[in-house]
C-alpha cells in the first residue's frame, strides 16, 4: 500500500467523524498551545532581563548581600545587607584611580511636585552613579559627592517622574517633595524604558546619606564598580573582595561580574521555562491518552472494515500503518492548530500585556515534535490491535 493512499484513507476516516476527531484533537491543541505560549513568555522574560543587565555595560562588578552561589537570599536578603555608606567610601578610596565606585539603596516612596503626586522608586546613591552605570544626564547635572557628603537635599529625576510631577513645567531648580521633605531638582537622566510593565523612568535619585536619614535605614543594597576595561575585571573583582572584607564578614556578601549574573539569571529563568513547559507537556500526555482511547473505539467500530481489507489482501503492516497514520494525522492537525493559537496568543501577550513573549523556532519545533511523538506513542497500541485482528473473526463482527 502506498503511503499517500494511507494518508488519504486516514484523512477520510477523520473527516467521517469530524466532531469526535475535533474534540480528541482539542487536548493536543491546548497542550501544544500552552507549550508554545509558556516557552515564548519564558524566553521573552529571559531576554528582557538579560537585555537590561547587558545595557548596564559588561565592565560592571556587583557586590551583593549573601552567598550568591547558593541563591541570592541565602545568608540574608537585601534587608539584612551588610554594606554601609562608610564601606562604600572606603572602597572608593581603595580603588581610587583604578575604578569608579557607587552604591544604591532603593525604596518605594510617594513624591509630590507642582503637577501632582505619584509613587516613585527612590534611589539613594553617590555622585559617581551616572559614571558607573553609564547613564546620560540630559539636562542639568548629576549631583556631586560633595553634595552627597554635606547632606544637601538635591535630586535627579527620570523622564517619567519629571512628567508626572512637573507636567509641562521645567523641573530644574524646582522643589520635589519626597516622604515629606523637599529636594531641589538639579538634573534629568535619559530614558531607561520599561521592564515587565514597571516604568524604570519613574525614578527619583537623591544623595545616599540623605536617603538613609530620610527613610530611616542604615543599609546600602548594592555596591557597583566599573572597571576601566574587560581585561581589568578579574583584578577589580579581587580588589573589591579584599577591600570589603576588611570591614565585612566574607560570608555575608558576594562579588560578581555581569557575566556571573547573566549566567545565573539565565539558568534560573531557563529552568523555570523548562518546568513550565514540562507542566504544559503533561497536558499533551493526557491528550495522548484521549487519542489512544478514541483510536481504540475507532478500531472496534471498524472491525469489519479491517476484516474486509485483510480479506482483500491488506497485510498486518498495511492496517497497522493506516491506523498509526490516522493517530499521527489527528495529533499533527491538533498540533498545527495549537501552534497557530500559541503563536497568536504570544503575539497578543507581547502587544497588550506587560509580559514579554518571544516565539522561537525551537519552541515551535519542540511543541509540534512532541505532538507527533504523542501520536506515535499513543497510536501504536490501537494500531497494533487493528493489525493483529484475525480477518475471519473480524468479518463476522457485528
Amino acid at each position: 500500500m502506498r503511503s499517500g493512499e494511507s494518508v488519504r484513507v486516514a484523512a477520510g476516516a477523520i473527516a467521517a467523524n469530524r466532531l469526535r476527531a475535533g474534540l480528541t484533537a482539542l487536548g493536543v491543541v491546548i497542550g501544544v498551545m500552552s507549550v508554545v505560549l509558556l516557552i515564548s513568555v519564558g524566553t521573552g522574560a529571559r531576554s528582557e532581563i538579560t537585555g537590561q543587565l547587558e545595557a548596564l555595560g559588561s565592565n560592571l562588578v556587583f557586590a551583593v548581600p549573601g552567598g550568591f552561589e547558593g541563591g541570592p537570599t541565602e545568608g540574608g536578603g537585601p534587608s539584612r545587607s551588610p554594606f554601609t555608606a562608610d564601606a562604600i567610601d572606603d572602597l572608593a578610596n581603595d580603588l581610587a584611580g583604578q575604578a569608579e565606585v557607587t552604591g544604591t539603596l532603593t525604596s518605594g516612596e510617594q513624591a509630590r511636585g507642582p503637577a501632582g503626586q505619584t509613587g516613585v522608586s527612590a534611589f539613594g546613591t553617590t555622585g559617581s552613579y551616572d559614571a558607573v552605570t553609564d547613564t546620560d544626564v540630559t539636562r542639568g547635572a548629576f549631583f556631586s559627592d560633595a553634595d552627597a557628603d554635606t547632606g544637601r537635599r538635591v535630586a535627579v529625576l527620570g523622564p517619567s517622574a519629571a512628567e508626572e510631577l512637573f507636567g509641562e513645567r521645567d523641573p530644574l531648580g524646582q522643589q520635589v517633595t519626597l516622604a515629606g521633605v523637599g529636594f531641589e531638582v538639579v538634573g534629568l537622566v535619559e530614558e531607561a524604558g520599561t521592564t515587565f510593565g514597571v516604568d524604570a523612568d519613574l525614578q527619583v535619585l537623591v544623595p545616599l546619606r540623605a536617603a538613609q536619614e530620610l527613610f530611616g535605614i542604615q543599609r546600602v543594597d548594592t555596591v557597583l564598580v566599573r572597571a576601566p576595561s574587560p581585561d581589568a575585571l578579574p583584578g577589580v573583582v579581587d580588589e573589591v573582595e579584599a577591600s570589603l572584607a576588611q570591614s565585612i564578614d566574607e560570608d555575608r556578601f558576594s562579588v560578581l561580574t555581569q557575566d556571573d549574573i547573566l549566567g545565573v539569571v539565565g539558568d534560573v529563568l531557563g529552568t523555570l521555562t523548562f518546568v513550565l513547559a514540562a507542566i504544559a507537556g503533561i497536558s499533551l500526555l493526557v491528550a495522548g491518552i484521549g487519542v489512544s482511547n478514541i483510536m481504540l473505539v475507532s478500531v472496534s467500530e471498524r472491525t469489519r472494515e479491517i476484516g474486509l481489507r485483510k480479506a482483500l489482501g491488506a497485510r498486518t503492516r498495511d492496517i497497522t500503518s493506516q491506523f498509526l497514520i490516522e493517530a499521527l494525522l489527528l495529533c499533527g492537525l491538533g498540533g498545527l492548530v495549537g501552534l497557530g493559537l500559541g503563536i497568536g496568543l504570544a503575539e497578543v501577550a507581547e502587544a497588550v500585556s506587560p509580559l514579554p513573549a518571544e516565539v522561537t523556532w525551537w519552541a515551535i519545533a519542540l511543541a509540534f515534535g512532541t505532538s507527533l511523538g504523542v501520536g506515535i506513542v499513543f497510536g501504536v497500541l490501537p494500531a497494533r490491535r487493528a493489525g493483529r485482528l484475525d480477518p475471519a473473526v473480524a468479518l463476522r463482527h457485528e
Binding site: R309, K310, L312, T316, A392, L395
Partner: protein, 283 residues
C-alpha cells in the same frame, strides 16, 4: 508486493494467464486452485470447550470449476469458506493453493495470495460506506501498490463486466441491494482471481435479484474461467452448480466430493493433462 504484478493483463478472457504469487504460470496447468485434504478446524471456546466446526474435509477445486456447498446453519460452511479463501488456517490436514501449502506461507504471503488469486463475495456485501462504487472495486488493487490511474481504469473495466460502469461514482447507500452485490462482485473480479468464493451471495436479496446475481456469477465462471464456490443453505441456488456438496456437522458428503465429480463443466482453462488421480481419495 512486487511491481511486476502491476503489469497483469486486464483481459478476463478464458484461459488468460492470471496473476500468480510466486512466478510460474505453469500453476494453472492442471494444479487445483484449492486442494484440501483431511482438513479440520477446531475453535476453542473458553478454557477447555472445543468446537469441532470442520471434522476432516477433503475437497479439490480444479480451475474453472463451479461447486456449491449446501448445508444447514452451523454446519461449518463459513468455516470451510474461510479456509478455502486463505482467511484462516486449518487445525490439521493439508490445504494447498495452486500447489502451495498454506503451512509454508507466512501471514503476509497469505495476504498476497488473497489479493491476487482469490475473490470474495459476501452476504452482507461489505462495501465501504462514503466510498464510490469505483473506489470500492479498486480496493484490492490498493494493496498491491497500483497507481491511482491504473486502479481507476481496471475498476471501471470490472464494473463494466457487471454492467454497472454508469454507477461508478455512486456510493453504496445510493445503490439497490442487487447493485451493491454487483459492485462487490466487480471488486472480487478486479484482481482477476483463480477462485471466486461466495458466502450466501443471495442471502440478503429478493429471489428475482438473487437469480440475476447467480446468473452473473455463472456467466463469469463460464466466460472468464474463474473457479466458483458458492455457499448457501438455499437448495435452489445450490442446484445451479454441476457439483453440489452437502455439508453436515463439519463433514462433506465424501462420495460426491471425489475428484471425478469435480471436473469443470466446460474445461475453461484447458487442463488437458490433469491427472485424474489428483484430488481427494475416496474412502
Amino acid at each position: 508486493m512486487s511491481t511486476d504484478e502491476l503489469s497483469v493483463p486486464a483481459a478476463l478472457a478464458p484461459g488468460a494467464e492470471a496473476a500468480a504469487g510466486d512466478g510460474a504460470g505453469a500453476e494453472r496447468n492442471g494444479e487445483p486452485v484449492v486442494d484440501a485434504r483431511e482438513v479440520t478446524r477446531h475453535y476453542l471456546l473458553g478454557r477447555d470447550t472445543v468446537v469441532e466446526a470442520l471434522r476432516g474435509v477433503s475437497l479439490t477445486v480444479p480451475p474453472g470449476a463451479f461447486v456449491s456447498i449446501v448445508g444447514p446453519s452451523g454446519s461449518g460452511k463459513s468455516t470451510l469458506l474461510n479456509l478455502l479463501g486463505a482467511l484462516d488456517r486449518p487445525t490439521s490436514g493439508s490445504l494447498r493453493f495452486s500447489g502451495r501449502d498454506v503451512a509454508d506461507l507466512s501471514d503476509a504471503e497469505l495476504a498476497a495470495l488473497r489479493n491476487t488469486d482469490i475473490g470474495f463475495v459476501f452476504q452482507q456485501f461489505h462495501l465501504l460506506a462514503r466510498t464510490s462504487a469505483r473506489d470500492n472495486v479498486a480496493l484490492p488493487l490498493v494493496y498491491r501498490g497500483a497507481g491511482r490511474r491504473e486502479r481507476q481504469r481496471r475498476a471501471t473495466e470490472a464494473l463494466d463486466l457487471v454492467g454497472l460502469s454508469h454507477r461508478r461514482d455512486h456510493s453504496p447507500a445510493e445503490l439497490s441491494g442487487g447493485e451493491q452485490q454487483r459492485v462487490a462482485i466487480a471488486r472480487a473480479l478486479v484482481s482477476e482471481p483463480h477462485l471466486l468464493l461466495a458466502d450466501e451471495p443471495t442471502g440478503n436479496l429478493d429471489s428475482q435479484t438473487g437469480t440475476e446475481i447467480m446468473e452473473l456469477l455463472q456467466d463469469l465462471n463460464a466466460r472468464a474461467g474463474v473457479a466458483l464456490v458458492v455457499i448457501t443453505h438455499d437448495p435452489e441456488v445450490a442446484a445451479l452448480a454441476p457439483v453440489q456438496l452437502p455439508i453436515r456437522d463439519g463433514v462433506l458428503d465424501q462420495d460426491r466430493a471425489s475428484a471425478s465429480a469435480l471436473a469443470p463443466a466446460p474445461p475453461a482453462s484447458g487442463p488437458a493433462d490433469a491427472e485424474p488421480s489428483e484430488g481427494s481419495p475416496p474412502r
